[in-house]
């Protein structure tokens, strides 16, 4: 039996701004990770990654990151992704500026 698939979100950095973005169900790149599409099927993940990588003039370095369903939307599993969705811990810069 194959291992259960860990849900994912698709994330990248925007080419112009360099900031972290996430792919939504309706093919938008959002700066709000809670709007990301939570991908729960491995084959669908592969298709979404191919789509993301084709957006080469909009985003850079697209990859699938582990995530889980939260009350308000997908939440990061790993602390690196948590930092990407929040910003640095020494200043209120990055995503947390709008909190």
């Amino acid at each position: 039996m194959s291992r259960p698939f860990t849900p994912k979100v698709l994330t990248a950095n925007r080419l112009r701004q360099g900031d972290a973005v996430w792919l939504t169900e309706d093919d938008r790149w959002t700066t709000d990770p809670l709007e990301a599409e939570l991908i729960e099927d491995e084959a669908h993940a592969d298709i979404r990654l191919i789509f993301a990588q084709s957006q080469r003039n909009y985003v850079v370095g697209a990859y699938l990151a582990d995530a889980r369903a939260g009350a308000r939307g997908p939440e990061p599993v790993h602390f690196r992704e948590a930092f990407r969705s929040r910003g640095p811990s020494n200043y209120a810069h990055g995503k947390q500026e709008r909190f």
Binding site: N57, F79, P88, S89
Partner: protein, 557 residues
């Protein structure tokens, strides 16, 4: 200090124009990211966790006030109002947007600066003793040689696609403040039996995942042979270096695998060829460069005002005792401005603070500023009579923290707060340690102690050579901090020893406090520094304290 000649000026501006076109081609889709990445890296532009990061070279750590003002302008105009000084005497801007970077590079060119070869598999920014040209113990100012190396290595056609990056450090003093033994090549100025100046050439040092102390390749290299000899070393490694495995590609591995004798044989053979190719043009250029580094006109003045301020103001006395170093000229001092106010981010300086430092350098410091690999800012030539006024101005700007060389003067890489390579955060650990010992009021009592923190195995935070080194790792999805002890970054360089299992983020500051309290209990006198006690006693009592072994034994009884 050095000023660009027409060639430098034209070259740097040409590179800015090229990069402007490259960015335009990337934005209109003509270039893919794979095509563009090496082009942006050649100009110091990285893509990190939250944004692009531009790494600007501060060659051998030397700036003037106009350049620091320009960095302040860039920080405010295109970034978030601050810059981060790094362990390689560079400055990094953490938030530029891609389309703005050509304008930033142009602003740098306007001030005689650039970001060329601050990344990529090239010879990187040459680092130097941050007290160069001022230190009392110095044989000769190494910066003219460093500038010569910068000119030789910049766009060197043979060395644009090296097996890996290549870092050179240089010092003119016997007390090594430039970590020369942990560089691909370290150059230490020495005198021969006749008093002539030359370099001890150290090769194959480095930190990272395979830390090594460099080995002496040449005990005495005449200064006139510097470039042909460097060219011989780099070209031997360019051919022999491992291009099959990036973890084995640095020259330290080549030296380790071939042995220092074989490397020496190959270098000396190649040196015969390279020396014949240098026809003296380099020496003419060196002589011209040297004229830019003439020492300021030091004037004898009374130091009575300094002595009076010392007696009258304990805070000033504390600052003077901690942040001043001996200057070669009578009545002068080298002032280190700490970027490490307790709880601040090591190496960060706001644009407003940069302008204050620039003003003070102009008013009191012969327009000279240095950035240290310890992420502090130095005014190398200040007369003691001016120190009371300087101190008040620094205090006003939040720049008078009297902690240089103490436990809160921590080196910390940006770690996972910014860096895409990091495995854990560094900055919060540095902030918490500094805050903890400030609250305990123990900092002055502890005395000299160098803590260095890296957020990954690549060791930008020099943790291997910290008296206490801290390495942040990802252990099963949780930040974990491994501690090393007994490292030394000076002329007696040693790689620190790993202690044992690491500590969680919320345990590591307590662990450091246990180590420091053990030291306070174990030292023979108040003057015996942490690293001296460690050398005298070895790791055992520190490990007992770190892992609370006595406590466990008692608990088991």
């Amino acid at each position: 200090m050095y000023h660009y000649n027409d060639f430098d000026e034209a070259f740097v501006r040409e590179r800015v124009s090229q990069f402007r076109e490259q960015v335009a081609r990337r934005l209109d889709g003509s270039l893919s990211e794979d095509e563009f990445r090496p082009l942006r890296l050649m100009n110091g532009l990285y893509l990190q966790l939250h944004a692009y990061m531009l790494r600007v070279a501060i060659p051998y750590g030397t700036l003037n006030s106009a350049q620091l003002r320009q960095l302040a302008y860039i920080a405010e105009r295109w970034d978030k109002g601050y810059g981060h000084f790094t362990t390689r005497q560079n400055i990094q801007f953490n938030w530029p947007q891609l389309a703005d970077v050509p304008d930033i590079l142009l602003a740098l060119a306007d001030a005689g600066m650039h970001a060329i070869q601050t990344s990529g598999n090239t010879i990187r920014n040459v680092t130097a003793d941050h007290f160069a040209g001022a230190a009392a113990d110095e044989i000769e100012d190494p910066r003219p040689y460093a500038e010569l190396i910068r000119q030789w290595s910049t766009d060197h056609p043979e060395f644009q696609f090296l097996p890996r990056k290549f870092k050179i450090a240089i010092t003119g003093a016997p007390n090594d403040r430039a970590v020369t033994k942990a560089h691909d090549i370290g150059l230490r100025m020495v005198r021969d039996a006749n008093g002539a100046h030359g370099f001890e050439v150290i090769v194959g040092g480095g930190l990272g995942r395979t830390p090594m102390i460099g080995k002496v390749l040449r005990a005495f290299l005449p200064t006139a042979d510097l470039l042909p000899y460097l060219e011989a070393v780099v070209s031997v490694w360019n051919l022999a270096g491992r291009r099959d495995n990036k973890y084995k590609s640095r020259i330290k591995i080549t030296v380790h695998e071939l042995g220092i004798e074989e490397i020496s044989r190959q270098v000396e053979a190649r040196f015969l060829e390279t020396r014949a190719e240098f026809k003296g043009g380099d020496q003419a250029i060196l002589a011209e460069i040297g004229s830019h580094f003439a020492p300021p006109a030091f004037a004898p003045r009374s130091t009575a005002a300094y002595e009076a301020a010392r007696s009258a103001n304990p805070a000033f006395r504390s600052f003077a005792d901690t942040n001043l170093a001996a200057h070669r000229a009578q009545g002068y001092a080298i002032v280190t401005i700490s970027t490490k106010a307790h709880g601040a981010t090591p190496g960060d300086m706001t644009a407003a603070q940069m302008r204050v430092v620039a003003d003070l350098a102009l008013a009191y410091g012969h327009d000279e500023i240095r950035i240290s690999h310890e992420q502090n800012v130095i005014l190398p030539h200040v007369h003691k009579a001016d120190l009371p006024a300087l101190y008040l101005a620094l205090r006003e700007a939040g720049l008078a923290t009297a902690n240089v060389g103490l436990i809160s003067d921590i080196i910390a890489c940006p770690g996972m707060d910014y860096c895409a390579l990091a495995t854990a955060r560094s900055i919060p650990i540095a902030q918490e340690i500094a805050t903890r010992f400030d609250e305990l009021g123990l900092e002055q009592d502890i005395g000299a102690l160098k803590i260095k923190i890296s957020g990954c195995i690549n060791a930008c935070g020099h943790h291997h050579v910290g008296h206490i080194g801290i390495l942040g790792l990802d252990r099963a999805g949780v930040e974990n901090y491994q501690i090393t002890l007994g490292g030394d970054a000076t002329e007696t360089a040693v790689i620190g020893e790993k202690t044992g299992p690491g500590f969680a983020a919320d345990e590591v500051v307590d662990a450091i406090e246990r180590l420091v309290r053990a030291y306070l209990a174990l030292r023979l006198t108040d003057d015996e520094a942490f690293v001296a006690t460690y050398r005298r006693l070895g790791a055992a009592p520190f490990l007992d304290a770190l892992y609370q072994r006595e406590v466990q034994i008692h608990a088991a009884e």
